[in-house]
Subunit: 427 residues, 2 copies
């Protein structure tokens, strides 16, 4: 068969239904399949219920070309996958010599006795093919049922991960897959999903359907994805990319998984400049975002979390009069914080933030969500006052990202600020 | 109906199928339902495919008493839930006045124009009931189709979380559920899941089966959960709680969702003490964990992110000779950082960390994952050297939590350190 197979997933385990475990295996499998241009079209998740599993497996084998089953291969009685599949295939179970060999070697290496519970893991559907497990006791196996290639894998993420390359190779061969899905992912900051969508619809009603556009809103970034599945659509995709750049150019942080902090660090490194931060309401999050990036030390000597007025004075030299007359959340204070951070760190560029993260501390004049930002170098400092009235940690996350974004824009020589600023500007 | 309803979930979103997003919403919903003694028996996940969604919704409505749909309520064209459900219900869509009111207020508060993309979120299946969304633009809604109560919720986790209490109440009323599952959740730090499990099995082979024990490993905390479903089992549950305290007492941070930073802040406030931190490898994460807690300013004047040796010297007064002879990752350096942070902040207690977060920077003597911690007051400073060779951000997270945990233990007068320290101690 040389056409795109219809892939479905079946996940099993009571812990997936109770909410005790978050299923990250599906994403792992899907990301691996995307290299083949395959996306699972449907996935079903069930508890350890024999009848429900048998019903579902039969229905899925009927409906799919490929069924990947994950979970239920362990040694305990609630591990039902092999037994149920043996039943569905109509051949029952038999002790598989390769699986038994694997178990014997695995136990011997660990000085364990091969007990009955472990030995159960060699009882597999008759006629199946082993998928080797280099890191665990339970092998995987595959079997064709009703023209559907069923591949069964263990639920332990590390074991699944170790087995995926063999599975991918098997799929390539079985379905003659040469295609490579081509996905361009762009990271943006400062755009809302609905704004981005509306602008694209308004400006490009002729968007080509073969360039699939999708969004993923994370805090603080919005990901825009352009996917094509045929190499001949690349020029069209590139055209769409140009449209995106024309519309949102200065909001684009980078391709792939680029985070704002990463972009800032790269740009500062390229410019031979160092950066610092003086944080009140973000309380260390700007520094933490920067230092989560490997190599931050190239451009970031450190930062200052001056939460109290006393530290704003003693560490950053914010004048006591300013704090008294203007308050900690004021333009004069954040400007002084920038100057103080530059002096105290010796860095070339600084950003400072002071605001009211809430839930307490707001007033009529300065409601919860109010924040002053200042950024600049020894020659010039710019400021803005925004209002971002959201939950405390989200506020800190968005403000920290905005603080990095103003540095990114300054380093890139971008004059204007993000759309978020227009929408949220207080003063 | 006063019998246990059969609950199924339908998750939608291309990002869930492509592997770009790990689905944590299902677990969130399941944990909330467990309070009603309900566990979803099946869940189906689909991409943004109109026909597949329509087929699945109809089949699920046929098979379940309750169907919770998550995702697809946003403003963009790939948000299909309302349109498909309108079709399945046979009534089509209409502009819902309450939803429109909500959108208008939501936009006004944020100084946004109500554009067409946003306005789409008020087009809901005719006859549905609104589920209010206190934190986002898209309301949820419920509708009975084919005797199945269908509840549609947005995919943004914070919005879903905010809407769940109303949904739970609705289910209680609809199905006459009086059962109160009584769940005691304990937050711990410094224990691995398998260690905790093994210690309980070894020490309490007579653990009563009616007190259901479960674990949820998060980074940095491990949650231990004791669940009962009958009020008469409470004394037995309390007995189990006592066993837990005897085994892991000093690892228990608190009940419910208590985070280590919260415990530290509460204890410092009670003791009338202030705290500070001097961070190298955690790069601001300790400060950020503290300031994510509302009220942190009561006890935390601020902290120091001294990433470079120059700032360790100039801000914290770490002697240049120490940095030269012992290195930045050394006992002498972190001790000097504690003293410097106490001096510079005027706080009563400080913690300092310096380590190698990787992936670069390791050596034979100090491999990646090595970290020195020091903590104390003006009278006494303690230190430990650990090795936590994990991925960079996980390393920072665990070390930041360990830094807070040593403060927590000191404030609580606990003499010994967590089990993690025994397992990871280098020097």
């Amino acid at each position: 068969m040389a056409q795109t197979p219809r892939v479905q997933l079946l996940l099993t385990g009571d812990e997936l239904m109770s909410g005790d475990t978050v299923d990250s295996n599906s994403a792992l499998i899907a990301r691996e399949l995307s290299g083949l241009g395959l996306t699972p079209c449907r996935r079903v998740t069930l508890g350890d219920d024999r009848d429900a599993l048998a019903r579902e497996m039969a229905a899925l084998a009927d409906d799919a070309d490929v069924l990947i089953v994950n979970g239920g291969l362990g040694p305990t009685i609630d591990d039902l996958t092999a037994a149920v599949l043996g039943e569905v295939a109509g051949h029952g179970l038999e002790e598989h010599p390769d699986a038994l060999d694997h178990l014997e070697i695995w136990c011997k290496k660990r000085n364990l006795l091969l007990n009955d519970a472990n030995r159960k893991q060699a009882m597999l559907p008759a006629g199946c093919t082993i998928i080797p497990n280099p890191v665990g006791s339970a092998v995987g196996f595959s079997l064709v049922v009703n023209n559907c290639l069923i591949m069964c894998t263990p639920g332990v993420p590390g074991e699944l991960r170790a087995m995926l390359p063999v599975m991918v190779q098997r799929l390539r061969e079985e379905f003659g897959i040469t295609l490579q899905k081509d996905v361009l992912r762009l990271q943006t900051f400062g755009l809302g999903e609905s704004t981005a969508q509306q602008l694209l619809v308004d400006n490009h009603p002729d968007w080509p359907p073969e360039v699939v556009l999708s969004f993923r809103a994370g805090a603080p970034q919005l990901e825009i994805k352009l996917s094509i599945t045929r190499a001949e659509d690349r020029p069209r995709r590139d055209q769409c990319y140009e449209w995106l750049k024309a519309l949102f150019g200065d909001h684009i942080i980078g391709e792939g998984d680029t985070r704002i902090a990463e972009a800032v660090i790269d740009q500062a490194r390229d410019a031979g400049l160092t950066i610092t931060c003086a944080e009140s309401c973000t309380g260390g999050m700007i520094a933490s975002m920067l230092t989560q990036i490997a190599g931050a030390s190239d451009v970031f000597p450190g930062g200052f979390v001056t939460y109290s007025n006393a530290l704003k004075e003693s560490i950053l030299g914010v004048p006591a009069e300013t704090l008294k007359s203007e308050g900690a959340v004021s333009e004069a204070t954040v400007k002084a914080m920038v100057r103080g951070a530059l002096d105290a760190s010796g860095a070339d560029l600084a950003v400072a933030v002071s605001g009211i993260a809430g839930p307490g501390g707001g007033s009529n004049d300065k409601p919860v969500g109010t924040v002053w930002l200042a950024w600049g170098d020894r020659d010039a400092v710019e400021t803005v006052c925004l209002c971002w009235p959201v939950e405390r940690v989200l506020f800190q996350t968005m403000v920290a990202a905005a603080g990095l974004d103003v540095l990114r824009r300054k380093l890139a020589g971008i004059q204007n600020q993000s759309r978020y600023f227009d929408q949220r500007r207080l003063r």
